[in-house]
């Protein structure tokens, strides 16, 4: 008989990183408590759970603290084995990890900076962002999800593009993701946000839009992703 599980997620409602964790837990049917953090006034629990980076998300599982969204996703997949999010075969597993890191190391940053810079700098970031999106679009091809028939690690990692990028480009007044240049990605976005599990976890678009509009000046000044 399994001991009573205590699963908590230290999160922020507007964060795409904590969204990843909640989506994974939802996909696996793991009951959990969401602990909302005020990023301007971080809780003692957060500071104790992630002393090195002091960032959300953190997964707390029976007292063990696991930070960093991609690391949390692997932990979740290894701990609750129903509905796997990583492929089993070594090469496919390696490729899933490769694409998730590509998203975090190159794509998100280029898209973010495209929104908050101007002139030549903005053009440079937009070129980088487009190159990344092109690579992802090619990689996805005609598949329903990056994970094949079901949502997997790469889809979860790419959720930033499904909602946040659209909101950010609206606030910034630029166009990055569009159906002409990236037909596969746009089709993927439609399918991803239409999924019941995803809809249950996503923050409301209008609320997200409002928060980025209100923080626009502050973000323009710092370019920081902590908003």
């Amino acid at each position: 008989m399994a001991e009573a599980e205590q699963v908590k997620v230290l999160r922020f409602w507007a964060s795409p990183w904590s969204f990843r964790v909640e989506l994974a837990l939802k996909l696996k049917g793991v009951p959990h408590e969401k602990v909302e953090e005020d990023l301007a006034n971080k809780s003692p629990l957060l500071l104790a759970s992630n002393p090195i980076h002091k960032k959300i998300p953190v997964l707390l599982h029976n007292g063990k603290a696991i930070p960093e969204s991609l690391i949390i996703l692997e932990y979740i997949d290894e701990t609750w084995t129903d509905n796997p999010i990583l492929p089993k075969a070594p090469h496919e597993r390696g490729m899933a990890r490769f694409w998730s890191r590509f998203i975090d190391d190159k794509c998100v940053g280029a898209c973010w900076m495209s929104c908050w810079t101007e002139g030549e700098t903005q053009q440079m970031f937009m070129e980088q962002a487009r190159a990344c999106l092109r690579i992802l679009d090619d990689e996805l091809g005609g598949r329903r999800f990056f994970g094949g028939e079901s949502i997997g690690l790469v889809d979860i990692s790419a959720s930033f593009f499904a909602l946040w990028l659209g909101v950010l480009q609206e606030v910034a007044g630029i166009s990055l993701i569009n159906g002409d240049e990236f037909p596969n990605l746009c089709r993927w976005i439609e399918g991803f946000v239409a999924s019941d599990v995803v809809t249950e976890c996503l923050p409301p678009r209008d609320k997200l839009l409002a928060v980025f509009q209100s923080k626009k000046q502050a973000i323009l000044a710092t370019k920081s992703m902590v908003y």
Partner: protein, 233 residues
Amino acid sequence: MAAVKLIGSPISPFVLRTMIALSLKKVEYELLPEKLGEKSELLLKSNPVYKKIPVLIHHDRPICESAVIVEYIDQVWPESGYGAILPADAYHRALHRFWTFYVDDKLFPSLVAIGKAETEEAKAEAVEQFRAGLRLLEEAFVKLSEGKAFFGGDQVGFLDVMLGCFVVWIEAMEEVLSLELLEEATMPALHGWVVSFRAHEAVKEVMPESGKVVEFFKMIRAMRMKAAADATN
């Protein structure tokens, strides 16, 4: 035709990581070094996204990114050689991966900054940042090793491989720049760990000679200083 090929050479700490992993597993492979300043067609074809080494090619399928490659090696050859590299339980795996992210995102860039610093002030700042990072790893080592020789306990584990690949570079930079980076006084546990790591048979097999790394570091420093001087003329 070798079933396992590795593009790169051990002078790159990221390639060295993968060589240590293959050595721990006693897997035979063909090493395909790249020429400095040139990228082979095989590399460009196998890693079109980053065009960087290391790339492992197994049964003609490439795997890129050193951390991804080491996890792949561990999964494909789970029991070979010295056995598992990743820890057995999910929480310790998460801890090894967490510190690996830290090494790659924070520690390694500060090591690079030391080598690139153009003023004494910049160098001192970079050195302090690097040492601060090592002090965190000292604490992590004490917790994870539980009194044993390695981050992985009795066995060389994932974090040992992912951090240990920089040991010869840290030593080379200490020699060339007359600095102490891995201070025995403030980091006694890590100091002991370096000795154990360097003494491991599988590591000794692939670790590049200190002299070679010192020469290489001096060469790239000279190239960088010349490029900077040329740019200001």
